[in-house]
Amino acid sequence: MAKRVVVTGLGVIAPNGIGIPAFLNAIQNGISGIKFIRLYEELNMSCQVAGQPDFVWDSLQNYISEVSFHGLKGTNIAYGITAALDAWADAGLDRETVEPHWDTGCIFGNSAPDSEATKNVINKVDARESKKLGSRVVEQTMNSGVTSYISGRLGLGNKVITNSAACATGTQAILMGYEYIKYGFADRMLVGSSEYIDPYIFGTFDAMRVLSRRFNDQPEKASRPMSTTAGGFVPGSGSGALVLEELDVALARGARIYAEVLGGSSNSGGQRGGGTMTAPNPAGVMRSINEAIKNANIDPGQIDLVSGHLTATMADKLEVQNWSQALGRNGKDFPLINSVKSMIGHCLSAAGSIESVACILQIVHGFVHPNINLEDPNPDILNIIDKDCLPVKMIKKEVNIVAKANFGFGDVNSCLIFSKFNK
């Protein structure tokens, strides 16, 4: 029989808050983490704002050994280690172990390894100085650097996978961990994703003209999902991590249970039917949502809150349309819907994990976070759902079931259903 999977630990590095208490306070109060970045002005980028966590590099010394700290330069790895180890501690688990935890695995994703670290390699090799690169470069320029550091620090001995599915990476990592426990292959999975958008990754998106460029002088207003004045997304960096456990294992050790993962789905629209490398096939999106609902064994009418992908591009309207059609709900009957991106920007592969942490906090603390910068909702969206479905201030209310989805380049979709835990 399939097992039940619960969330017992959370960790987050977000542009508007480092650590769960700071992040909770930020999303409850609509605090933006978007700032003007002088370097991007100097580099002649069109978009000159970004969501960058106020991460203190030396804080890493509290997480890894002195030897490991010396020579670590990969920022995405640093974010991932911190969020993952925070989630592990939050679950009441011990960092130190002699034997590997054979029952515990790790699925942590990223979209690209740190390209600043890669730049160092390119510069040295081109200068005929490859001999001076040292031994610590491979581990930081390989895609699996993040999971290698996390699983090594904690001695995780079950499946260790680095997944990558563009902006759906984080939700997909959680889904994969959930499925692995559900079907009995592991008792516990440390899951999440991390992203550091350095100038080189930033530049590639800037070149596509998909980034916000009209609010460089008002950074906190730059990320405007679902608004009439939405003009592109704001890149963000950070990491989110969750400890998932099989229900009986969590109960047996007296773990605090935040929420349950009821189900999920990950698929692709096949870049057909309107889907392309960069745009989703609506049939794929709706299928993903409907499969998640079916796997969770719930009725669409039970969903209290939709945590959308909603990046602040032209695709927002299509996304709301897809949700409405998939759920068979519109107007006033549509659930509340919000976008964490209004406060932190689009954290690409880390979006799904950071936003899932936000979903669970809303379930645990009984609130729906505001959509900031939504004083002018897009009329096309208001043709589909009622204005009251778009909170602009925090709403205190019981939240039982949240649907969370992310959609990524390559026409990939991932949807998760989180629920309040009921014995």
Binding site: S65, E66, V67, H70, G71, K131, K132, G134, S135, R136
Partner: protein, 84 residues
């Protein structure tokens, strides 16, 4: 440079790569980098690069292969310094 001076300076070179500070403080010619200082074998490369930079010398592959204990490290460094 005397062997003792090099030995004392090597403590600073090894320090970032070892968590065994006790063994580092009692460094002698016989101290083994891997067995005693518990240095990860992959990090031996970094120690060679750091020593090259510190003494402005070049340590060839054959010499580097010999640098497994403190005495042999001092031998190689002294030899390269004398060739300058």
């Amino acid at each position: 440079m005397t062997r003792e001076e090099i030995l004392n300076e090597l403590k600073g070179v090894f320090s970032p790569y070892t968590t065994n500070k006790e063994a580092l403080n009692k460094l002698s010619d016989q101290t083994d980098l891997i067995a005693d200082l518990k240095i990860n074998s992959a990090n031996l490369v970094d120690i060679i690069i750091d020593a090259e930079a510190k003494y402005n010398i070049e340590i060839d592959y054959d010499s580097a292969d010999k640098m497994l204990n403190v005495g042999s490290c001092i031998d190689v460094i002294s030899e390269k310094l004398n060739q300058k």
